[in-house]
């Protein structure tokens, strides 16, 4: 399985090359359009967020967030429509319940709170988007690489799938 870490991130030997890699899950109707409007207005923000466009922030299964971290993301940001603005009426109501739970789980697993953000960004809030990305990138840069695959390797877990069949 391709690890996110192995592509753009620096390694322990060459930390200078390291750039924070943040995965952003953005809803199509508000936040993605908000990010788009930041671009159209030529606002400057760091290129560290890899945006995944989803139809609704209610589609962000917490499993996606865990997967992103497990594969080497340094941060995850989930953006959706403001409560009351959801194109699907109540999709983001599910998001607002799930995200605090995810936050608590990540805290229990020792992942710093600044590495996970959940905000509401409307289609008109390009400036909010660019500020948020700038701030989050700075905070994650301060924290340094998370590199969960290396942690799993260090603890000797997670290599089960790589074993040849039947140990032959």
């Amino acid at each position: 399985m391709a690890e996110i870490a192995s592509t753009a991130q620096g390694t322990a030997e060459s930390p200078a090359l390291w750039e924070p890699r943040i995965v952003g899950f953005l809803c199509y109707w508000c936040s993605y359009t908000g990010a788009d409007s930041a671009g159209t207005a030529r606002m400057k923000y760091p290129p560290n967020v890899d945006i995944v466009k989803l139809m609704c922030s209610g589609r962000v299964d917490p499993e996606l967030i865990a997967t992103a971290f497990a594969h080497g993301a340094d941060g995850v940001v989930v953006l959706g429509c403001h409560i009351g603005d959801c194109h699907y009426i109540s999709g983001n109501h599910k998001t607002m319940v799930r995200m605090p739970l995810v936050r608590r789980m990540l805290a229990d697993l020792g992942i710093e709170p600044a590495r996970f953000r959940h905000e509401w960004v409307s289609a008109a809030e390009g400036e909010k988007f660019s500020k948020l990305v700038t701030q989050m990138t700075a905070e994650v840069r301060e924290l340094g690489p998370l590199n969960w695959p290396a942690l799993l390797h260090e603890r000797g877990v997670g290599h089960g799938a790589d074993l040849p069949p039947w140990g032959e």
């Binding site: 299964d61 697993l109 969960w148 603890r155 877990v157 040849p164 140990g167």
Partner: protein, 323 residues
């Protein structure tokens, strides 16, 4: 398939587990006599006096069915797992610990140093003025003493060796065990398989549960020592944290029949890899919250998201350990 005397050779080993799995094999009751008619035990340290040396002496692929219960916490367990893999035609991860890490894998929330610190130094019931810790190799006047190395994390059996079947549950439910044994012994399924889950269904515990769902939203979370649940009504809707929607079926919703919420011992449902996040996904639609503030309040009532939602499956989830 049967060997010289026509009997199936069966082995059972326990690693990092409580011993309940060994007992659960006996739970098949009178069918045990049926099992002993078609099978002979060639290795079962819990029930009979077999040594590792006996197993080493067996030819390769000598054991037909080998049940391995418990996770892999130390080097001895890994060594035996590798040995049994070599000596077995079919290696079955038996129970929640062998297939998903189980309760012992909750220790993955702490590092090895933190565990040693708690167990050997700062435990109120521990007296250890010299600060002794177990060492894999110790020089003594009588020679070197070797004990197994404590691993930095609890692993599933499949993290160490290829596994043919996984039989989840804490412990696996007796009827399901018997069905699985019959299927493998009767040749209905191949001896070798790629860690296929057996002794469980392809649905969730909710699908097996007879409690009525009234489509009520959760207004408050309660713990099961605080309330006497209303009979016949979905426990989750009553505010008791039941893992039913995020747990594989197969047990027949046994706990729910006794008014106890599901704890999730059969591991994640077929549609998910990670049980904890799967449960968070399910809860998203079940809470009675229309404002963010209310959602935060309700979520804060959940005592322990990791320990509660990944109680039996931390080692099989995505993140597996704590930093």
């Amino acid at each position: 398939m049967p060997s010289a005397n026509g009997k199936l050779k069966v082995g059972m080993y326990w690693a990092a587990s409580c011993g309940g799995c060994d007992i659960s094999l006996l739970e098949i009751g009178p069918r045990l006599l049926e099992l002993l008619q078609i099978a002979e035990v060639v290795f079962w340290p819990c029930a009979a006096d077999f040594k590792y040396a006996n197993v080493v002496g067996y030819p390769d692929a000598f054991i037909d069915l080998c049940f391995f219960n418990g996770g892999v916490r130390n080097s001895e367990q890994e060594e035996v797992a590798r040995l049994l893999r070599k000596k077995s035609k079919s290696l079955i991860a038996y129970g929640a610990c062998a297939s998903g890490g189980g309760i012992p894998a909750l220790a993955n929330l702490k590092s090895r140093d933190a565990i040693f610190d708690a167990a050997y130094h700062h435990n109120p019931s521990t007296q250890n003025p010299e600060g002794t810790e177990p060492q894999p190799l110790v020089e003594t006047p009588l020679g070197e003493l070797e004990i197994p190395e404590f691993y930095p994390a609890v692993l599933r059996l499949r993290d160490v060796v290829p596994v043919d079947y996984e039989l989840p549950g804490c412990p696996p439910q007796a009827d399901r065990v018997w069905e699985a044994v019959q299927a493998v012994a009767g040749g209905a399924v191949p001896l070798r398989n790629a860690g296929l889950k057996v002794g469980c269904t392809d649905k969730t515990v909710c699908d097996e549960c007879s409690r009525e769902k009234k489509q009520a939203k959760i207004a408050r979370f309660k713990r099961h020592h605080q309330v006497r649940p209303e009979p016949g009504w979905c426990l989750l809707e009553q505010g008791l944290l039941c893992m039913g929607p995020a747990t594989r079926g197969g047990c027949g919703a046994l706990c729910l029949k006794a008014d106890m919420p599901c704890e999730g011992c059969y591991g994640p449902p077929p549609s998910a890899e990670d049980q904890a996040t799967s449960m968070m996904g399910a809860l998203g639609a079940l809470l009675d919250a229309t404002t963010e503030e209310r959602a935060r309040e309700l979520v804060a009532e959940i005592p322990d998201p990791v320990g509660g939602f990944a109680r039996f499956s931390l080692a099989s989830g995505y993140l597996k350990v704590a930093k």
